[in-house]
């Protein structure tokens, strides 16, 4: 192995990569875009229904009700209640009439007023009506002969819900890897179309060195950016070493796919045409993280599932090596197979 030749070839590839304006611009703008998207998304989740309450009388069921997911804040006046609703501090304002207790005691129905802003959806209004009705049942001591036994499946995230932007993190990391996949595929197909790859092979460089250099270029471009992205968005808080390993394997995976794409592509347009289906297919598992339950178990046949699942579990749930070693092993297997197939078909075309 001639390291000097490898170094020269890698430097040449980096230079060629950034000479293609589209990929250079996509790399730079895309990276900034991903960072911006991450930071403009909500960083917290309000998992409570905030309800304002004006109660001139004391109704323990209403004033002392602080269930999980329900935040009832008492205000001094009806005006303050309306102001709170208009300002968006409360999803609804509940105003109890002064004669509530007397009416309830005499089996009459007091009329409770609920205030909403115009943009509150009907289902939310219905929900608040149901909540208030249930509180009234509790206040009047009407028992219910139901006994519910609850079982929590998976880690209970009450109090520490995952913000949407952290769910998006694996998707963005994968997208960064994918753009580099297209860049490398284009680099290779251009070299083949122009015949420079054949010119390289008449030099003392071997085919093996050629593929190692291309592999290092592709993996380096993809891996470097994804690591930087995860660093900037705080994706290493869970287990940095595991995520770095996963991203490295992900970078090798997309390099393998890039070899495959370049083996069937003739020009930039065909690289784009082949890359987009690969892009979409490899991106699908990320949507499983974004929209839990939307995708069934078939997703596990896609190699990117093991990358996305690892990043999601480690970054968002603090999983360790013991939890995700199998994911990494399967991902490594996919990497080896895809890269080997990619190199084989590409080598045939080069020869």
């Amino acid at each position: 192995m001639n390291w000097r030749i490898l170094g020269t070839l890698i430097a040449k590839d980096f230079s060629l990569f950034f000479r293609k304006k589209l990929f250079a611009v996509l790399t730079a703008i895309g990276f900034i875009f991903y960072i911006v998207i991450y930071f403009v998304m909500p960083s917290t989740v309000n998992e409570n229904l905030d309800i304002g309450l004006y109660a001139p009388v004391t109704l323990p069921a209403f004033t002392q009700m602080q269930e999980e997911g329900l935040e009832i804040e008492t205000v001094e006046s009806e005006e303050a209640l309306k102001e709170g609703v208009i300002e968006g501090r409360y999803v609804a304002g509940v105003s109890l009439p002064a004669d509530t207790m007397e009416k309830l005691a005499s089996k009459q129905k007091p009329t409770i007023s609920l205030y909403f802003t115009p943009d509150v959806p009907q289902e939310m209004k219905d929900t608040v009506v149901l909540i208030i009705r249930e509180l009234a049942y509790v206040q009047t001591g009407q028992a219910l002969s139901i006994e519910a036994t609850e079982e929590i499946l998976g880690p209970d995230m009450i109090g520490t819900p995952i913000p949407p932007r952290d769910r998006l993190r694996p998707l963005l990391a994968i997208m960064i890897l994918m753009v580099e996949m297209m860049g490398l595929a284009n680099l290779l197909s251009e070299e083949m179309e122009r015949g420079t790859i054949h010119a390289l092979l008449v030099t003392p460089m071997s085919v093996k060195e050629l593929f190692i250099a291309k592999g290092i270029t592709g993996t380096g471009l993809a891996f470097g950016q994804s690591v930087l992205f995860m660093l900037l968005v705080g994706g290493f808080s869970g287990g940095p070493l595991i995520i770095v390993t996963a991203l490295l394997l992900g970078a090798v995976l997309v390099t393998g796919v890039a070899f495959l794409i370049s083996s069937v592509s003739k020009d930039f347009m065909s690289v784009l045409a082949w890359s987009i289906p690969a892009f979409i297919i490899l991106l699908v598992p990320s949507f499983g993280v974004l929209f839990p339950g939307a995708i069934t178990n078939w997703i596990k046949i896609l190699p990117s599932y093991y990358l996305v699942d690892t990043v999601h579990r480690v970054a968002n749930f603090g999983s360790g090596w013991g939890d995700i070693w199998l994911n990494l092993l399967i991902l490594l297997g996919f990497c080896l197979v895809i890269t080997w197939v990619g190199i084989s078909v590409l080598r045939r075309r080069v020869r």
Binding site: L104, L153, M157
Partner: protein, 353 residues
């Protein structure tokens, strides 16, 4: 005009055009923009709580739950299925109703319900589900609500969330990227490569070529418009009427694309026109972004007559009476543009022959 030749040329447009930047861009860009808007304004993650039910007794509770708008209900056939659904997050909570549930409610003993809760489910979703089920069970057992409730909406103005306000922009981008840019770039490309001249020396007429390019643009334009409305669940109560409006919008985009394609010589000029004159196309969306702007300002711009019916049908639940006038204005504008295109085509035909 030969339909057979138009068909062959249309196939060619899709076969070769689909590898072009503009084709890919006109499909990918509206979807990405739509997803980004949903992500940024948080509408993508604010769905209703979802509840799974395993009903072993054909309980009355199920139809009652389905009638309500506060929850999304999914039914499962076995404990394994419902557990899997909860574990994967397909539902927030899954409840198992025992075999004699309805009968047991009227009895004296306690009725047991097994509930599976997804660990990542938000607290408010768990509360909403619990309260909804409890209230319905109370209704089933004949308990009467001890209170009357009146809902009062504060403020007169109808407030439209930003995510919804941006929908007309995305729909217009979807319709015009495909509808305008595809035929325009395709015509310019043919002119640049001189393939248009080569084609017209065959029995193919210039009308056939332009019809094929226009149809390709119209199909992509309508497809993307419909897709964006599906993604945003904004089909309103009159989907057919909406599709008709999208078709007319697509026709306007295609006609403008053809005019630009005939007039301009290269892509640089086209993109310059798109960047500068694009404001005329997208100006009416500012009326929806900022309702303080007087509505009459929008009527100056041709695309207002596409956006207004779309917003009326998809967001305000309106029907034919509310959009009829603008619908006919849109048809009128399309006819005028068609006459211009026909005139320009005739000139082009004379030039090429």
């Amino acid at each position: 005009m030969s339909l057979k030749r138009v068909g062959i040329l249309l196939g060619k447009e899709f076969l070769h055009g689909s590898k072009g930047y503009i084709f890919i861009f006109s499909i990918v860009a509206p979807i990405v923009i739509s997803l980004m808007v949903s992500l940024i304004f948080g509408t993508l993650f604010t769905g209703k709580p979802e509840m799974g039910v395993l009903d072993e007794s054909s309980s009355q509770l199920i139809p009652m739950l389905q009638e309500l708008d506060t929850l999304d209900i999914k039914e499962y056939g076995s404990t394994t299925e419902i557990r899997q659904a909860v574990e994967s997050g397909a539902v927030d909570v899954g409840i198992v109703l025992p075999a004699d549930f309805d009968r047991s409610l009227t009895g004296s003993g306690k009725v047991e319900i097994k509930a599976y809760t997804w660990g990542e489910s938000l607290a408010k979703n768990r509360t909403i589900i619990a309260v909804t089920v409890t209230t319905l069970i109370r209704e089933m057992t004949g308990q009467e609500s001890p209170v009357d409730i009146q809902t009062i909406t504060l403020g007169d103005e109808v407030s439209i969330p930003w995510g919804d306000r941006l929908l007309p922009v995305i729909v217009l981008i979807a319709v015009f990227l495909g509808g305008l840019m595809l035929p325009a770039t395709s015509i310019i490309n043919e002119k640049a490569k001189k393939t248009l001249d080569a084609l017209v020396v065959t029995p193919t007429r210039i009308v056939d070529i332009f019809a094929a390019k226009g149809l390709a643009g119209l199909i992509i334009s309508m497809f993307m418009g419909i897709l964006i409305l599906v993604i945003n669940q904004a089909f309103g109560n009159h989907p057919l009427l909406l599709i008709l409006v999208l078709a007319l919008g697509g026709i306007m985009a295609v006609e403008l694309g053809m005019i630009l394609g005939i007039l301009l010589k290269d892509f640089t000029s086209l993109f310059t026109v798109w960047k500068t004159a694009g404001i005329i196309l997208f100006a009416p969306v500012f009326i929806y972004l900022f309702p303080e702007i007087p509505a009459w300002v929008g009527r100056i711009f041709p695309t207002y007559y596409i956006i207004q019916p779309i917003v009326e049908i998809s967001q305000l639940g309106s029907g034919w009476p509310e959009i009829a006038v603008n619908f006919f204005v849109l048809i009128g504008l399309n006819v005028i543009l068609l006459v211009i295109v026909a005139f320009m085509l005739r000139k082009t035909q004379l030039l090429t022959t």
